[in-house]
Amino acid sequence: MKGSLGTSLVLHFLVLTWALFSLSAPAKFEVGDVEALPVDIVPVESITQIQQGDKKAPMAEKSAPKPTQKPKVVENAENAGDNDVDLKTPPTPVKKPLQTEAAAAPQKTEKPLPNPTTEDNKVKEVAPEETAPKPQEVAALPQPRPEPTPPTPKPEPQPEPKPAEQQAEEIPMPDAVPVPAARPTPDVPKPQEAKPVEKPEPKKTETPKPAEKTPDRKIADKKQETAKSTSSKESDFNADEIAALLNKQEAAGGGAKRSAAPAALGGKHDTGGSKLSQSEIDALRGQIQNNWSVISGIEGAQGVIITVTMKLDETGAIIGRPEVKATGGSDNARRTLESSALRAVLRSSPFKNLPADKYDAWSEVVVNFDPSELL
């Protein structure tokens, strides 16, 4: 036994020493160097609640559509634009760039024209000031203009005033005058008629025509009128016309909602950007319930659901008579509960604690009640 015990001890010693050296450290797991990815937690609201803005503009704290320049005309307009009527078409028609390219040429011819002419300096002063805003109004559109036009018109008008006039005449011709005429939606027939007439005329007499044209086009702004007068003095007729057409195009599309802030990322329309949260709705419901004197013991009151639809002004007061509808239960119970609900709603006006910045959301509210919960 001693011998075998010794043998066993020796064997164990050998095995343990072998294990200590060969099994000392298991191979480490290969862990790839993975760089941590920055993760932003984005609330669902930013996806589901899109604010009106410009799709191509950079992101800003508050989204806003492209800035407009005209004074506010239409109250509660929904679509951004310089229009007088709140149209749903986007403010920039797709086909415009073609026209604006052509339109840019005469505008540049205007500038060289006053220099050679011996007419009053006043005219010159007026012209640059007013022609300047035009490109601003069109904002994105004018960009294509300078690229194609500058090579052809610029060198020619400067040396001689006369060829400049000729070019100006020539340029409007290819513009395809009827094409812009089709776009201004409000006054379709008038510009079509006027334009063909105007083109031959400006060559001979310039001053009378702009005067005639401006009354025809109701859309033209004061800026446009002044621009016309300057250009007419300078004996450049076509530029006027194109400017007018361009302005018409601006007015033709887009809505009447004005925007003063710089364009920032956003959707075309608000999509539930301001929505009452559940707790705000509950608060509103609570105010009504507090004023609800519950009539207990009505037969058939079980299963009655009361829907109150009311319009609120910005102070939270009810406008007009709230509409109360009850469904389910017996006729008698419905009538009783409807009248008690109406009383409660009227008593709780004006509602408090409604978020002022979400007035769109609660200007018209629908609140549902289950009177059985109150009993």
Binding site: M1, S4, L20, S24
Partner: protein, 239 residues
């Protein structure tokens, strides 16, 4: 610096460092289990050698016994030695036989019974030596895993307490303690598995040897009873 740290971290998972990191109870459990393993293998080696030796002796004795050699002669040669197994049974039976005839046996039945007793006692004594220490193999085989598990539970408990103290649940912090604790179970299994296997094998071998001894005893008892009849009948006839 970083390499050194990594090396230190790697070495902290080696068996020796795992053992050194362990707490006192876990260390004791591990040492006890290693001791049990040593004891198990000592028994295994001892039993293996003694069983093979016993089998060889059985074969040799049977060869000699059935070779037609005179039993008296065989007894005389064997009686001087220290015998085991079949030889011991043969010697015990022959001794009883001799004693009975030297003093003049009266009844053949009594003589037969005495010889059988002597052989039974020798068989039980011999089987006892064969089965000796197999019980400790069984104990190690059944209790080893539990002792290891105990060490693991205690080790994990202490390592969780350490984690609670360090206030970090990083796997690198948690892993060494758990690995160290699991080492106890591993050692327990290492000790227990061979113990169970050896126990089963040696119990079967001991059973076989016992059966062989029983068989030889019956055969030898039959031979002796024939001899008794032959030797006692002339006396009875003479009377």
């Amino acid at each position: 610096m970083e390499h050194a740290d990594l090396a230190a971290a790697a070495s902290s998972v080696s068996l020796l460092s795992l053992f050194m990191q362990a707490g006192l109870i876990v260390k004791l459990v591990m040492i006890g289990l290693i001791g049990a393993s040593v004891w198990t293998w000592a028994i295994v080696i001892d039993k293996y050698m003694s069983f093979t030796k016993a089998k060889r002796q059985f074969d040799q004795f049977e060869q000699v016994f059935w070779s037609g050699q005179s039993l008296e002669e065989l007894y005389r040669t064997l009686a001087e030695r220290q015998n085991s197994g079949l030889a011991a049974i043969f010697v015990a039976a022959m001794r009883e036989w001799k004693k009975s005839f030297e003093r003049g046996a009266r009844s053949p039945i009594g003589l037969q019974m005495r010889i059988d007793r002597a052989m039974d006692v020798t068989i039980s004594r011999e089987s006892e030596t064969y089965e000796a220490r197999l019980g400790s193999l069984a104990t190690i085989g059944s209790a080893g895993p539990f002792i290891g598990l105990f060490g693991t539970v205690v080790g994990i408990m202490t390592s969780f307490q350490a984690i609670a103290g360090s206030k970090s649940t990083n796997l690198a912090v948690v892993a060494p303690g758990i690995a160290e604790a699991l080492l106890a179970t591993a050692i327990g299994l290492v000790a227990a598995i061979p113990a169970v296997m050896a126990y089963n094998k040696f119990m079967a071998d001991a059973g076989k040897l016992g059966a062989r001894m029983e068989g030889f005893a019956d055969e030898f008892s039959a031979i002796l009873s024939r001899q008794i009849d032959e030797k006692l009948q002339p006396r009875q006839a003479a009377q």
